[in-house]
């Protein structure tokens, strides 16, 4: 067991709580920088997706986790960032410039979306963001002179002031943006702005009585979250080098919410855990599709079932693994199971494992479930 003794208020300002965590993060940093030389290009590509999802996860964390405002339309912000990038690139704007511009523009749209949020609560807000996302998707599909409609837009390779970024270069760009976004988010959370978000999340009435301009902070939560998602959108567009409206559907917005639900709503680390999990589902699914029929086949032969039974069960298994809806089936089950059995997300589990190790053998089971509220009604 170790204790951190602080002797000065300024020490609370340090990014890392202890020497051990400095070392741990430094090691992680070295690994991430060395990654292009350590892993195959397929995994590097997956890692880029993890970074992009982690950025979106941070955006979702600030809006939903910190400020408590629900959005199930964040794919729209990703789309706005991505299309801004594609269009800016066509006009020869250099990447660093449009990375910032797309972020700022999406942030502005986020601010505008946040305006109705001032008057809406809970489920009304969720549905309003949903409506916004549908409208954006439709506008992208119909505004053909700018967006080429459903044919989509191609992007050239990312270009930083005349220097073309290769795969590794793009990876470092994503890594850099992720680190910057993370630092910004950490700074927000530990500042008056972050505390205002928290106050709005937990009790809006009390927040107002403490002198917090709830309207201002709600809109800025939307603006900040949208801006970060917009930046992720630029990277996303370059990663795929082709964008079209159906890539920003409701399913994508739900993926984004899943990132923080699975990772854990309250912490930034959760956003990263959630991103890793979400990206890993696809490769895992491929493995399952390949291996599951063989495994069931072997298992059934092993317990000595008759050939016709095996054949019919095997047909059923094949039907399930080859069904187009398999991914959403698994996603659906994951969401439900996580919410029921791991409501604090992967980060909550991580914290408990860490606490358990630290306090071993004195650790005891603590309640990890969120407080249930039957009396405090959200209904208005």
């Amino acid at each position: 067991m170790s204790a951190h003794i602080r002797t000065d208020y300024a020490q609370s300002d340090q990014l890392f709580a202890s020497r051990a965590s400095v070392i741990a993060y430094a090691a992680l940093g070295v690994l991430l920088v060395a990654a292009p030389f350590l892993i195959e290009s397929y995994y590097l590509s997956q890692l880029v997706f993890v970074l992009i999802y982690a950025i979106v996860g941070v955006a979702m964390n600030i809006l939903s986790g910190q400020a408590g405002q629900v959005s199930i339309g964040h794919a729209a912000f990703l789309a706005i960032g991505a299309y801004s990038a594609a269009i800016a690139q066509k006009y020869g704007v250099p990447l660093p410039v449009y990375l910032v511009l797309a972020g700022a523009f999406t942030g502005l749209i986020g601010y505008l979306v946040g305006l109705p949020a001032l008057r809406l609560h809970g489920i009304y807000l969720a549905i309003a963001t949903l409506a916004f996302a549908f409208i954006v998707e439709e506008v992208l599909a119909r505004w053909e002179s700018v967006t080429h409609g459903n044919e989509g837009l191609m992007l050239a390779a990312p270009n930083v002031f005349g220097m073309k970024l290769g795969t590794n270069g793009f990876y470092y760009l994503c890594l850099g943006v992720t680190v910057v976004v993370m630092l910004a988010a950490i700074n927000i959370i530990r500042s008056p702005t972050g505390r205002a978000f928290l106050a709005i999340r937990d009790s809006e009435t009390a927040a107002r009585s403490m002198g917090i301009d709830t309207a201002r902070y709600k809109t800025s939560a939307f603006a900040i979250s949208a801006a970060i998602t917009g930046v992720a959108g630029v990277l996303y567009a370059h990663k795929l080098s082709f964008i079209s409206p159906e890539m920003f559907s409701l399913a994508v917005s739900i993926d984004f919410v899943m990132i923080i639900i699975i990772g854990g709503v309250l912490s930034l680390r959760g956003a990263v855990f959630g991103a890793i999990f979400m990206i890993m589902v696809d490769p895992m699914l491929i493995v399952v599709k390949d291996k599951l029929p063989q495994i069931t086949d072997a298992a059934m032969h092993g317990i000595g079932l008759g050939e016709p039974i095996i054949a019919s069960i095997q047909a059923g298994v094949l039907r399930v693994v080859n069904a187009p809806g398999l991914k959403s089936l698994i996603f659906g089950l994951i969401i439900i199971l996580f919410i029921i059995y791991e409501p604090m997300g992967l980060d909550g589990r991580w914290q408990r494992v860490k606490a358990y190790c630290k306090q071993f053998p004195l650790a005891r089971q603590r309640s990890a479930r969120p407080q249930r509220m039957f009396l405090k009604s959200e209904r208005r």
Binding site: Y9, A10, S12, D13, A184, N187, I188, R190, S191, P192, T193, G194, R195, A196, L198, A199, R201, D202, S203, T205, A206, A207, R208, S209, M210, G211, I212, D213, T214, S220, I224, L266, Q371
Partner: protein, 252 residues
Amino acid sequence: MTYFDVKDLTIKFGGLTAVDNVSFDINEGEVFTIIGPNGAGKTTLFNLISRLYTPNAGHIVFRDEDVTQLSAQQIAGRGIARTFQNIELFESASTLQNLLVGRHRHSTTKTWQDILRVRKVRDEEIAHRRAAEEVMDVLRLQRYRDTPIGSLPYGVRKVIEVARALCVGPSLLLLDEPSSGLNVEETDAMAEWILEINRRLKVTVLMVEHDMSLVSRVSDRVLALNYGRKMALGTSEEVQSHPDVVAAYLGA
């Protein structure tokens, strides 16, 4: 100078007049208590003063300024802080964070400065921390500094709410039933703290309270309400012996 003056305040909910033409004034530095049976309109009056409700008629004047049309967050900015009858703390945050939220009106940094965490933000953070620690010293809350509110007992939460309101740096502190839900010892401690806040920190206190022993111990003046109307105003003894008040409480 008028310190705090409520004039002809009225609010109606549908057909019910919850606060009916109530007028009173508070002198700087006193402890002023509002009593009354359940449903007398005490909390409604509080919500009117902290501008969570908008009155149908009447005025609230604080330090010669008409604050009737200000928003709730502006009221806090003028130096009026409050607690809530049923505790409205930020439950997922720690005690320290709750207190720091109370310091919000003393922050002058813009959001972009927060994001970049410029020198000014860091300096202000330290100042906020120091102020919060001072309040924790007064109310002996140090041991709960990093504990999430959700895992603290009710009595402690009640004190933390007072601490958070003190962090606002109020000139006028509104306490909505500070002793409700507290046991005898806790009520006793609460009375001491109210006096300490009033005498040592020079904060004017306006409170709603049911516990008459607490009321007579700390109050300079008492206002009794019933059915939203003023029944009696005076010292604790005067009000308690007022025939209307006796009748209202004994249900004559």
